[in-house]
Structure formats: structure tokens, C-alpha cells
Amino acid sequence: MVEEVLPLSGMKTGGRARVVRLNTEGAMRRRLLDLGLVEGTTVECLHRSMWGDPAAYQIRGAVIALRRSDGDGILVSALPEPEGGKRHG
């Protein structure tokens, strides 16, 4: 399977993806790591605000809103189908 890498902010609403790399530096990188956004973490894009930005993501059970400018620095690969029974959904 060829993995297609895209920025977090480019995720489809309702879609799931796995974090591949953080291209963010400094304080924001630290914040994202503390929120559990390390490589390999599954995230789900829950919904977007009415202006399309920011968007809310399910990350390790918590719902976190991120602006597009920040989501651009997080590279993910889209996951095909929601698998039943996985915890970080």
C-alpha cells in the first residue's frame, strides 16, 4: 500500500490518519507532543468551525482544536477505514 502523506489541516472531516512527522518547532512542538501527538498516533478530524478554521481533532481521547496554520506543520498519512474496537478513535 502506498502511503499518501498530507498535512493534518488537509484531512477530510470525519477521516482518520496516523501522524508521520511534526514539522513544527519550539513551543508548539512541545505542546503538540504533550498533547500526545507523537509519531504513530491516530487522529480523527471531528469537525471544522463554521469558517473552516480551526478544526477539532480527536487525539488520544481528548478533543483538541488546532488552527490550519499549525495543522500545516503536522504530517499525517490517511487511514483507510475506521477499524472497530480501536481505542484512539
Binding site: 511534526l22 513544527t24 513551543a27 508548539m28 512542538r29 512541545r30 505542546r31 503538540l32 507532543l33 504533550d34 498533547l35 500526545g36 507523537v38 509519531e39 498516533t41 471531528l46 469537525h47 471544522r48 468551525s49 463554521m50 469558517w51 473552516g52 478554521d53 480551526p54 477539532a56 480527536q58 487525539i59 488520544r60 481521547g61 481528548a62 478533543v63 483538541i64 482544536a65 488546532l66 488552527r67 496554520s69 499549525d70 472497530g84 474496537g85 480501536k86 481505542r87 478513535g89
Partner: protein, 698 residues
Amino acid sequence: MDERISANLLPELDRNLPAVALAGNPNVGKSTVVNALTGLRQHTGNWAGKTVANAYGTCTYPGLKATIIDLPGCYSLSAESADEQAARDFICFGRPDAVVAVCDATVLERNLNLVLQILEVTGRVAVCVNLMDEAARKGIAVDCAALSRELGVPVVGASARSGEGLPALAAAVRKVLHDAPEPRKIRYLPVLEEAVSLLEPAVEQAVRGRLPARWLALKMLAGEEELIAAAEKALDLSFDSLPRLKQARWKAAHFLEEQGYLPERVRDAEASCVVLHAEEICCEAVRAPSACAQRDRRLDRIFTGKWTAVPVMLLLLALVFWVTVVGANGPSGLLSRLFFGLEPHFAALLQAAGAPMWLSSLLVEGVWHTLSWVVAVMLPPMAIFFPLFTLLEDFGYLPRVAFNLDRCFQKAGACGRQCLSMLMGFGCNAVGVTGARIIDSPRERLIAILTNVFVPCNGRFPALILLLTLFFTAGDAAASVLPALMLAGLVVLSVLMTLLVSWLLSRTVLKGLPSSFALELPPYRRPQAGKVIVRSVLDRTVFVLGRAAAVAAPAGLVIWLLANVSVSGQTLLAHCAGFLDPFARLIGLDGMLLLAFLLGFPANEIVLPVALMGYTAAGTLSGAGAGETLAILTANGWTPLTALCAVLFSLFHWPCSTTLLTIWKETRSLKWTVLAFLIPTAAGTAVCFAVAQIGRLF
């Protein structure tokens, strides 16, 4: 601006009792636990960053003698924002005798990240898994025994709101105070462990048990300069002045570099290890259904949906105001009758006590009148609005507002969290200013501080409601919908003004690009309606009564003196009002009202009462009823245009003294404090001038 609440942040702390610090992610019910343990009545709310300063109290819980310190919520010990650094400093350098790590059972994995970080600093930790009731409702099961096994410290499940689990928590804290548990260490990547082992002995020699050497060594390797500097300050030594340590640091760093690990990568690896360790623990100890957040998702679709977000927001706002307006009518009339009914008795009492004429006039017409006015007219709306707002807060709605409006703040060059500090401002602007600590970037924090006063605080609502009701409705109670809608409109206006001024600031004196931010949208919680309402009505009442005594009574005294001391044939009051009048007329007010705004500097809720006192200086104010008030105002030349300008000027003018003092404390800068005074004043003057000039054309 970088003034941090310093390491031994609580110098007045009684160290005869053991100090127990409560730490946790924002919004896990820490304040509820603290309140339950101490009987402190700290305001709690369902959003990140509610506790922004370290609050503390003596534990009143049976069998646990300790000082309880409520630390601001933090996601990690390597944080940037002022409130999170305050928490970190106390845990790392404040030498707490025990730390209670409070977690949210519904998002335990994320919470464990902080718990694991704390465990690296101190073993004297008891973990409190709070909100077990919410978790159960969502079908999440947490195995506290397994957690305790995995972490190596006591773990207690609790539902602090109902008091469940608190006895066990108290027992766990006692146990931890008695002998420190041995937490299980996190195993990092072999290469990190290797480097740490190179450095740790030298660190140990330098700190001599005052700080955990392994933890400090790791932070040195990760290049966390700010934290290292804080450690040096706490230990009162310079690490670079110790040759052995300096050499070991160099050696370990060199070793890591050879393996391809620069400090940045060390930091990543460290953070990832902690996160993955938390995941592992949760696999053992937590069972959650795959679709546990369905209810929250459905609610979010309504509260943040593309088409529903704004209508629902406005509807809720109008509903809150409508309930306030309608609910305040009855108590207001009752209090007014009570106070003005008591007045003759009060006067008779003074006379019987042999008080001279001038004194009894001063006390009755000056102090008593103002006091009754503030209590009768200002108290009921304040005591009703506040709890309603608290309910929304408890429910978890406010972060959704921040989410909805974030794009606007982003366009204005501000932080999305500014919206939260703005919402706090509805309760009290001083609280909103302090609340701006949740914003990481100093530039954006200043914007939030300088613009907070643009949202009307609780003390300004009653006057707004009264003026809108008197001048813009038919006046009958059934028409209460109209003032509620107008008030909602005013709030929208104040938000627009906040955005406009934020935008101007970030284009001029506070230039910069919006920095990054992440906002947690916490799980919705069922607000404890009964408890919240009773508590905040009581709290508000006590607060307002206290302020009335402290501020309204002296203000009444001053206005009476001004009205009764004559210089060259005119009272001082007439002199002052006459002096202000030409300018006041320009902006659609009159001299007396502007004087009232000036005298209202200590507290906004006295502005209208003071103005009315001024108008009726001879003491003809016979009641606080709507009819009398309208009659007094119109007799003094008020038109709907005057009322409109008064409303606008009330929205946009200088901050009250408490807020201004808080701004000075937060910024430690005369320049920003002066600007915080001038900016809203200029904005209000400009708006009122424009409205008055345009209004007079018609």
C-alpha cells in the same frame, strides 16, 4: 511581562503544616477537589485555565492536617505560559511535601502524561482519578488498582463533586506524607539512558538530593535552558561553575551527538517515551467503548455546526439576559420597598440617638440612599446573571464559543484563548485580565489584557438593563424580551469592538503574527444546577453587599458633601458638574453623569446610583422604582439619545480601579497600564461623540 509567580511562590505559606500541592491538566475538576478538601470557595468551571494563580487553603478534611495548594492546570512541566510555569515551579522547586495529581477519568491517557512527568520529579505523589461518575456515564471503566501497580504510587478513584472517594484520597495523602512511595521509573531509549548515566552522578554531586538528579540530567540533555536556569535559581548555584558537571555535560552531549541526537531530538524522544508509556499503562488499566463520545459529538454538531453555531450562541446569550431581566424584577421591587420603608425608621433612630441635623441628613440622604439603590437595583441582576453564566461554564460551552470565534481573533492577530479571557470578563474584568495568563505569547497576552474592559462586566449589566428598559421599551414587564435582545446586541457590539481594537493593536504598538495555539474542547459535563446556583447566588450577594459597603457608602458620602458644601453661592457638585458639562455634552452625556462615571472609578455598579443622587441632591429620591427613576432622568433633560450615549459610554470607558490595579500587577508596566486606561476611554469618547452628533441631526 515575564514576571513569573516566583519559585517559592507562597512565602506566607505556613510551613508548619505539610504542603500538599494539587496538580493536573486544566479542567479536570482540581478546584472541586480543593474546595472539598479545604472548604475554600474557589470558583470552578469547565474549561482550561480557570485557576490562573496558585490558590491555597488549610485542609479542613477530617484526619488530614495540611496546607492545600491549588496549582494552575498544566499539560506538562515544560510549558511556556505563565500559569503553567507557576505550577511547574511549585512542583519542581517549591518543595511540596506531597503532590496530588488529579486526572480526568474520561481522558485518562492524556492526563497520565503529566502524572508521569511529575513522578520523575517527586515520588511523593497520590493520583486522584476524578470524574469517575462522568466516565461511568460514558461507559469507561478505570482500574485504579492496576494503575497503582503500573505507576507505583497510590491511585484513588473519585467523583469530587459528590464527595465520593475523598476519604480514600485523604488517606492516600496521609500515607504518602508518612513514607514516600517508590514510583516505577520510565525506561527511555537505550541511547538516552546511556547518556543520562554519564551525567547523573555529576548532577547528583551538585544538587545533593535537593532536586532529583536523573530528571535534571535529562532536562540538561534536552537543552531545556529555561528550566535549567530556574533550577539554578532555586539551588542558588551556577552549573557552569562546577568543572566536573560541566565536563560530564559536555561528554554526555557529545555522546548523544555522535548517535545523531541533538537536544531537539532528545526532547522529542523523551516526550514520545512518556506518551507511549502512558498509552501502555492505559491499555492495562482503562476499558473504553470504541464510540464513547457520541453524545459529545452530537452536541458539538449543534454548538459548533456551520449553520447552528451563531444562532445558538445568540439565542443562549439572549436567553440568559431575558432570565436576568425577568428574574430581577421581583426581588428588585421587594428590596426597594424594604430599604425605602426602613428609611424613616433609620432616620428616627438617628434622631433618638441625638444626632445633629446635618449628620442624620448625611447618613440618610447620602449613605443610606446610595446603599439602598445599589443593593435594590444592582444586586438582583448581578446575582442572577452570574449563576446562569456559571452553568454554561460548567457545562463546557465556553470553549466552544472560543472555537467558533477563533477565526475572528486570528484575523485580528490575537490568540484564540483571548476569547476565554474575554468571557471571564463578563463576570469581572479584573478576573479576565488575570485570566489572560492562559495565553502563551506575551504580545497576545497584552492584547487580551488591554481589550478586556471592552466586554461589560457583571457590575455594568444592571445599569445597562435599567437604561434599556426605561428608555427603549414600553416599560411593562411583558416587554422584557426587547431589552434582553438589545443587551445581546450590545454584547455583540462589545465583542466587535474587542476585535477591532485587538486588530488595531496588532497592527500598531503590538505588531506580530498570531502564534500557534491548541485549545482543548473538554467533554460536556452535566452542570450541578442546584449547587452552582445556590453557591454563586450567595457568593455574588456577599460580594456585592461587601462592595456596596466599601464603595457605595463612601461614594454616597462624597456626593452628599459635594451637594451640601457651597462655594461662592453654588454647591461644589454644581461646580464640578458645570465644569464637566461642556465636554460631556459633546459626547451626548451631561456633566453630572460624567462626574458619576468618574466617581464610579472604584466600582462600576455605583455609576447610575451616584448620578441619580447628584440629580436629586436635595434629597428627593423617594424610591428606586422604574417610574421615579425615569421621572428624575427626564426632568434632568435625558432623552433616549442621552440614554444611548450613557449605555455606550458604560460599555466603553476606563477600567475600574480594581481592574486597573490588576493590569498593573500583571504587566508591571506604567506604559501599558496608562494605555489600558486611555484606549477604552478614547474608544468610548469617539463612539459617543459620533452617536451624539449624528443623533442630533434627527
